[in-house]
């Protein structure tokens, strides 16, 4: 019996269990230090100056004072940009669904016809998701000019990435037993698809689409800031012209749109569940 083991078993000295404990403590301490270092570097990099929040209170109060009361007389002129904002999201979501659905079938491991198709589809989905919708909007504004169309295209392409990630997950989690059962009845592939696969996954897919529409409505507001139309563009214009009462009206409209979209989407998804 070695001396270390003998010491450890007799309860004297610093045996292997003691070393493990010491090593564990050192590891925890190092990780805590590393975590602290990460937080501190973030504060330095973003040039965080909490005192500015205090000194900036006056500026913020002045902005709010100038924005009140909201300019409700401009309400009729906000109808069109509001409709544009919703329609950008609607068009973007529909485009995304139409492109994402076939890609998702290729990118689902239990449906894909070949590994080549699987990785090809995953690659396209990954790329469209990796590029933010704001960057897509800038690219499309450059390509097709200002207005709601580049915004809708941007949301469509980015939605392909987001839906293309969630659709295959839903398809892969589908219970395959009814599908195999249908195949064995002698049904053709397309019939298995329409009578087995679609009814099994449709409610989940619709839920994802509604959630995406909800997200796209929020995104379409932001896309206006880069010239892609809608209420975002109106806010940018009003800010540039110092028309803060118009800005506050537009913010109220945004609040109503976002809240309504969220409630309607949640209610519909609940019904589908």
């Amino acid at each position: 019996m070695s001396l270390d083991i003998a010491r450890s078993r007799s309860g004297h000295g610093f045996g292997s269990a003691g070393w493990r404990r010491a090593l564990g403590s050192a590891m925890h301490f190092s990780l805590a230090l590393l975590g602290l270092a990460v937080v501190i570097q973030a504060f330095i990099v973003v040039q965080a100056r909490p005192q500015d929040l205090v000194t900036g209170v006056h500026g913020m109060a002045d902005l709010i004072r100038r924005a009140m009361p909201p300019n409700f007389s401009a309400l009729p002129s906000t109808f069109w940009p509001t409709l544009q904002t919703i329609d950008i999201a609607l068009f973007g979501t529909l485009t995304g669904v139409i492109i994402a659905l076939p890609l998702a079938l290729l990118a689902a491991s239990n449906m894909t016809p070949s590994r080549f198709a699987y990785y090809g589809a995953r690659g396209i989905i990954g790329f469209t998701r990796a590029v933010p919708d704001l960057v897509w909007a800038l690219l499309f504004v450059t390509a097709v000019g200002l207005g709601p169309f580049p915004g809708a295209l941007a949301l469509g392409v980015h939605s392909v990435g987001m839906l293309g990630r969630l659709f295959p997950e839903t398809i892969e989690q589908m219970d395959m037993a009814p599908i195999h059962a249908l195949e064995l009845t002698g049904a053709r592939r397309i019939q298995v698809f329409s009578h087995g696969i679609i009814p099994s996954i449709l409610p989940s897919l619709l839920g994802i689409c509604l959630y995406r529409l909800d997200e796209n409505i929020r995104s379409s507001l932001v896309l206006g800031f880069v010239g892609a139309g809608g209420i975002g563009f109106q806010i940018l214009t009003a800010m540039n012209l110092f028309q803060y009462q118009d800005v506050s009206l537009l913010l109220i409209i945004i609040f109503v749109i976002v809240l309504s979209a969220e409630r309607v989407s949640a209610a519909l998804r609940e019904r589908l569940a």
């Binding site: 009814p178 195999h180 249908l182 002698g186």
Partner: protein, 247 residues
Amino acid sequence: MLRVRELSLRYPNGKLALSNFNLDIAAGEFVVVLGGNGSGKTTLLRSITRTVMPSTGEIWLGDTNLCALEGEKLRRARLALAMIWQHASLVRRRSVLANVATGTLGRHYTLRTVFGGLPASELEATLGHLAEVGLAHLAGQRAGTLSGGQAQRVAIARALAQRPRVLLADEPVASLDPEAAEEIMRLLQRLARSENIAVICVLHQVELAYAYADRVVGIRDGQIVFDLPRDQVPRDAVHRLYLPEAA
């Protein structure tokens, strides 16, 4: 009706699942297959449906060798082979009637059935099949809301909608309570006779085999140990099917 000749199947991992297997089943006959886990019972059914391809041998359905078929010919041949499993394998979000009607899809290739519609010409017959299993009153109900026994009866109605010549059942009562299990076995026995269907039913419940089968086939290590009318099957022979290898 169904003849299995010198059937052998070796899985890619080298395991011999079936070895020189021979079996004849006539129309209207109810055959129960008994055997321990891994004895080859399910592999036999999967070979007949050609979900797996046997290594050697032939499976004749009438004058068609199922082992020689591929693609469209295999699909057409499968119309005559209905299968039910331990779990009913229904599309849970569709109605009972829609699930049963899917059994008829293989015979129809209309635009309507391609886009998820049901073959209208078959709906009345489908209701008849549901009535046959005693569930016509649940036609409009969602399949996901059924009890295990009811779901299994719907699966049997879907199998009937196929108008099969052979019905294969892989442990159809394994997840059911004793009363529901007896009900399903009675139903399978009745259908074999009234519809003149050859039924092969894989079971673990020996008493059900003694109660309902016309013939009992015992399998061990992919080979037939006995193939006898139910009243001639010795209890100790059945017992030996489930003994460990060394015994």
